[in-house]
């Protein structure tokens, strides 16, 4: 291990330049110390300069954890690449930590590369409180078990040379260090600071810029290496945002006008953005008294006009299920976005999981066929809202969109959407109903029917959650219930007939096919690339439609000796006590695929409370395939 000294060396040798295709940086601190702002600006500028970027928040579960505890570690990971970055990667190469305890947290989570450079505020080593000094020393000892390069930095002392309160603005000093190491464009950084602090005074801006420059010059004098990641100018204009922002803006692009919601992590930020901007588009956010009411209000609004949506997370989905059944039964279009988090119950409110798939499909009681979609990227979060609105309206049913905390809080650039007026919902047509038009005039082939909206002369009828005939008259006869059930179900078969098989990433034949859904696509494909480079015959495919599933899946499976899902949910492992082939509880997509294809689909799933690392998936691939392609 090579613990560098922070003391300045006279006439330093020119810094060593590390030319790499990618590098991962973390800024970690106690919450409220500005690490996120530092990382966001760094990431935005890196994207502007032509690097691929994936940013993910490191969120403590507590609102206000005590300072200097590992559980309070808060901040961001920024993964930079020469090309597009699709996931948060494996381990971090460089960390700036505002205290040694939050650094320790990352170490204990195995988040740091063995060769990582750790820049850590060292004022704690000199603290008046002997307990703090002891904690520092213990942490350094624990960290010394790995060959990290630890670089102590007297951040606050440096900041004190130009400001009175170094607690505020230390993040800008850190940003300056990063700007120097990664050779970022200082003009762009200053522009970004101006944008970030646009609601603050000129004085605040000036002070932040001074601290930025202080950090930059400090690194110039004290850091003996630089990191160079090739950049490529984007061919198309890009936008950079997280998945929740993409959902919110996609909802506007889809022509929806009402978001009814109740606060729940990690879904709420969709409504934060919409609350800020929706009204200028003629839309509104209704914060209902509870999750149930939020769903009911969206249904009422959809029924009376344009499709509305509600956005929630696991426990909220559970509460909404009664209303979902009603919307499906009355064929009122509705879009529901579920930003999945760890469960069951309150579970892991801020952490990613893909455990709501079966609940999304089956939580409503009775036979309640509806559409379930899962975007795989942040860009897809935007566009899927347009698809969801249109499907809800065309098929007169509930469309559930499953994202997760990884997409919700991940930030990455993607091509700026080329908007289309046709995505917008057409104005309400309140023309008199056609002669003979019925509330449920099911086309007996397709189950499709045109809905009647209140205000249409001659269309008066009562919608009911009771079993009903095509005139919406309450019907208890078994014949009518059989027929109406078939009509509601048929719609999914019709939709499936319009879909195309999912593309296969890699050759169509091989030893192993990985099947994923949702936010894991980037990590899975990266793992597949790495495995193929090792000679393993593995490909992957990714499902966006979970109900109905895309067609041709069984045929794709036939090209592979083994099929395995990779998911962020819990499954038993063969070999665990009492677990047998017969009673093994499998990953949720594996469960569905086995049922629909009769193929013996295996699964590799984990619930680490963090996005899957491509390296972990690679390990799983190695474990389930013949090595070196020697089948």
């Amino acid at each position: 291990m090579s613990a560098a000294s922070s003391s300045a060396t006279a006439a330093p040798a020119p810094p060593k330049v590390l030319r790499v295709p990618e590098h991962t940086v973390e800024i970690v601190s106690d919450s409220g110390e500005g690490a996120q702002k530092c990382a966001q600006i760094f990431a935005a500028v890196s994207a502007k300069m032509g690097n691929g970027v994936w940013t993910v928040e490191l969120i403590p579960a507590e609102i206000q954890p005590p300072p200097r505890v590992p559980e309070g570690a808060s901040g961001n990971r920024v993964r930079l690449g020469e090309h597009a970055v699709t996931n948060w990667g494996d381990r971090t190469n460089l960390v700036i930590a505002f205290n040694e305890q939050v650094l320790l947290a990352r170490h204990r989570l195995d988040a740091l590369d063995d060769d990582a450079v750790l820049l850590v505020e060292d004022k704690w080593a000199r603290d008046d409180d002997p307990e703090i000094v002891a904690a520092w020393n213990a942490a350094m000892k624990e960290l010394s078990t790995r060959p990290y390069r630890i670089v102590p930095v007297a951040m606050e002392d440096e900041c004190l040379t130009i400001v009175d309160n170094p607690k505020k603005g230390k993040n800008m000093f850190a940003l300056g260090i990063l700007a120097r190491i990664y050779d970022r464009d200082m003009t762009r950084i200053k522009d970004q600071i101006a944008h970030s602090f646009r609601k603050k005074s000129e004085e605040v801006y000036a002070q932040n810029v001074s601290l930025l420059e202080l950090g930059y010059h400090w690194a110039e004098d004290h850091i003996d290496f630089r990191v160079e990641i090739p950049t490529h100018a984007a061919e198309k204009p890009l936008v950079v945002m997280n998945g929740n922002e993409a959902i919110a803006l996609g909802a506007i692009a889809s022509g929806m006008e009402l978001c009814a919601m109740y606060p729940i992590t990690p879904a709420t930020s969709v409504s934060h953005l919409l609350s800020e901007v929706f009204e200028k588009f003629g839309g509104m956010v209704h914060q209902a008294e509870d999750e149930i009411a939020a769903c009911g209000v969206a249904i009422g609004a959809s029924y009376a006009g344009k499709v509305a949506f509600t956005v929630t997370s696991g426990p909220g989905l559970a509460l909404k299920t009664e209303f979902l059944g009603l919307a499906i039964m009355t064929e009122v279009p509705l879009v529901l976005v579920n930003v999945q988090r760890g469960g069951p119950s309150t579970g892991l409110p801020t952490k990613v999981e893909q455990s709501d798939l079966l609940a999304a499909l089956f939580a409503a009681t009775g036979d309640a066929p509806h559409i379930v979609l899962a975007p795989a990227t942040i860009e897809e979060c935007f566009h899927i809202m347009v698809t969801a609105r249109r499907l809800a309206e065309t098929f007169r049913t509930v469309v559930m969109v499953l994202t997760d905390a990884n997409l919700a809080t991940g930030v990455t650039p993607y091509p700026k959407p080329e908007l289309d007026e046709r995505w917008q919902a057409a104005p309400l047509d309140l023309a008199p109903v056609r002669e003979g038009q019925k509330p449920y005039g099911w086309n007996t082939e397709t189950g499709l029917t045109q809905r009647i909206i209140p205000g249409q002369p001659g269309g008066m009828h009562t919608l009911t959650g009771l079993s009903h005939d095509e005139n919406s008259k309450v019907a208890y006869s078994s014949g009518i219930h059989q027929h109406s059930s078939a009509m509601r179900s048929r719609k999914l078969a019709v939709l499936q007939s319009l879909l195309t098989p999912p593309p296969v990433y890699g050759p169509a034949k091989g030893d192993l096919l990985i099947v994923g859904w949702g936010s894991t696509k980037g990590a899975i494909e990266e793992a597949v690339d790495r495995a193929r480079a090792e000679g393993i015959k593995v490909s992957s495919t990714h499902l966006r439609f979970l109900s109905p599933m895309e067609p041709g899946i069984k045929k794709i499976f036939a090209g592979f000796k083994k099929v395995m899902t990779v998911e962020i949910n819990y499954s038993d492992e063969i070999g665990d006590p009492y677990v047998t082939e017969e009673n093994r509880r499998r990953g949720q997509l594996a469960f569905l695929l086995r049922a629909s294809t009769l193929v013996d689909v295996d699964c590799w799933t984990r619930v680490p409370g963090e996005p899957l690392r491509p390296g972990s998936i690679l390990e799983a691939i190695r474990g389930r395939t013949p090595r070196g392609g020697a089948a």
Partner: protein, 318 residues
């Protein structure tokens, strides 16, 4: 006719010439038990619709689940017969998106004050312009004789065969305690003239008009208001020009109190008195903010929205 100008283009021009008869508001034949108070409410509502000449296709009845929630089926307007306790969220969504529709809500006592109690409190606070009837017969009828929050103490039911354990909930007191509630009234199914006049006052109030309608269930609670039905002296009418105006009742109900519906303190004092049943408007304040007005947003054309969104996306430009 209460229709907004925005709707004129979609109306049949002949509508102005058409006089709606009561029978034109009749839907399916009502299937409530003979003697059920719901019939009386239905008749009063049909009379109101005809008196106000509400256009059936611009009129919406939303209900929950229970005997009374069958209401929309028996009218020839638009109807939404949804979930137990959850008529109000649906009505809220309808009114938010389509404020020009005439929205009526029909709930039972279990529907409104038990499983839907949370929605009820918040809907009163939203104060959206809708006429909300709570048909209170003090029992769950559809599911056959279970205690509801308004069942009299000691009343024997299938779920509390030794008699209801607790004193009944007083929905009027609760309604009068809700911030931003703007109209709270009580009437009774066995006084049709009062019922009609109360519903009319409720309809004309701009805001959330909450009307509790006292009823008897002919099967399970036929006697709960027996004394009041037989002895009008047990009933006190609250009278005021701004309340329920029904002079034809003066001969029947001699016990009257002059009550200004703006006087919330007096309203609460009367709501607490249980030895006499007060009928009329307890409280009314048309100046309370209405959520659908507060939240009204100017509509935009698709082209405007696309142009604005394109600009919004530039805020995220790399």
């Amino acid at each position: 006719m209460s229709i907004s100008c925005g709707l004129l283009p979609v109306l049949n021009l002949d509508a102005g010439e058409h006089q709606y008869e009561m029978s034109e508001y009749e839907g399916a034949k009502a299937r409530w038990c003979p003697g059920c108070g719901d019939h009386s409410v239905l008749t009063s509502v049909q009379r109101l619709l005809a008196a106000e000449q509400l256009i059936p296709d611009q009129t919406m009845f939303v209900s929950g689940i229970g005997c009374s929630s069958r209401f929309p089926h028996y009218l020839k307007t638009y109807g939404f017969h949804g979930l137990h306790g959850r008529a109000l969220p649906v009505a809220t969504g309808i009114k938010l998106h389509r404020p020009e529709l005439n929205v009526f809500v029909v709930m039972g006592d279990g529907d409104c004050t038990s499983i839907g109690a949370g929605h009820w409190l918040h809907a009163m606070r939203y104060n959206m312009d809708m006429t909300v009837m709570m048909l209170d017969n003090g029992i769950y009828g559809l599911t056959k004789n279970q205690t509801s929050p308004t069942t009299p103490q000691g009343f024997k039911s299938n779920t509390q065969p030794k008699g209801s354990w607790l004193p009944p909930m007083n929905p009027i007191e609760i309604a009068l305690g809700v911030t931003n509630a703007s109209f709270v009234a009580q009437t009774a199914e066995w006084a049709p003239a009062h019922l009609y006049a109360t519903l009319r006052a409720a309809y004309h109030h701009k805001g959330f008009s909450f009307v509790r309608i006292l009823q008897r269930c002919p099967v399970f609670t036929p006697l709960i208001f027996q004394q009041a039905v037989q002895d009008p002296a047990r009933i006190t009418l609250m009278v005021h020009d701004d309340g329920v105006v029904a002079p034809e009742l003066n001969n029947i109900y001699s016990s009257q109190v002059h009550h200004d519906p703006r006087d919330l303190a007096a309203a609460r004092a009367m709501a607490e008195q249980t030895e006499k049943i007060h009928l009329g408007v307890f409280f009314k304040d048309p100046s309370k903010p209405r959520y659908e007005e507060t939240r009204r947003v100017a509509p935009h054309t698709p082209a405007e929205r696309v142009a604005l969104l394109d600009k919004e996306l530039d805020r995220y430009a790399v």
